[in-house]
Amino acid sequence: MKTHAGEEADMVIRIESQSKLLLLRPLCYFVRHLLEQLAPTVGAEDICNNLELAFTEAYTNIHKYAYGSGTTGTVIIHIHIRPEELEFTFEDHGLGYEPCCVPPPNLDKPAEGGLGLWLMGEFMDECAYTRTPEGRNILRLIKRLPADADSS
């Protein structure tokens, strides 16, 4: 995959910090502008918007829930850029939860919450949550990219 800047784009970015609200926007702008640089391969504006939204929802949830309300802890984010897909992983060492037990929202009864996990599922091709035996919670979000047209 060739990027806008003409560099091979098979790469990984690792970001480690505290799960503070302060970082929500800086991280989202990072992702938005990364997607812009990749735009020739990532594709249409809509896809970039959706990826940015899924990223935002995942980070917001870790900020809100992973370490209990009002408490923050370590969050480790990996962004893998591969020729055929983009992968975000979010790792925390917090409480963990059972995403499968979270019911989907009832869209006929608008509520003040409950859309985040569902939106990630709508916008990504794969969402997988694992809790490791050592107590690490890992959320993997994968978006498959359209086949590269200009691999010239």
Binding site: L24, R25, L53, H63, P110, A111, G113, L115, L119
Partner: protein, 110 residues
């Protein structure tokens, strides 16, 4: 965020992003307006490029609070991203959405 009162309608102009950073300020502004009995409100999204589920949640909460207090809420000028999200979440059937603040304002005059 900027709150302005014009001819009995409050216009809340939102910033570039309506996310978990901005949501508390919106809810706070609405509760101030309710206290002041100014419950006809336009949420101006013309500057807002990005909205997420926290933003949608804050809008739903705002609408509820205003209706409960005999007012109403209209949304003006949402971006393409915001409109798509309202449609996906079916909030476009709950929110009254107009292209711009002026059009939204006229609907309060009727």
């Amino acid at each position: 965020m900027l709150v302005q009162d014009k001819d009995g309608v409050a216009v809340i102009k939102m910033d570039e992003r309506l996310d978990m950073v901005a949501a508390p300020a919106l809810k706070e502004a609405i509760s101030e307006l309710v206290k002041a009995n100014k419950t006809n409100v336009i949420i101006d999204l013309e500057q807002t490029k990005f909205i997420d589920s926290s933003g949608c949640g804050a809008l739903v909460a705002s609408l509820r609070a205003l209706i409960k207090n005999k007012g109403d809420m209209k949304i003006a000028g949402p971006s393409h991203q915001a409109r798509s999200l309202f449609e996906l979440t079916r909030l476009h059937r709950v929110f009254e959405i107009y292209d711009d603040v002026e059009t939204a304002r006229l609907t309060f005059r009727k």
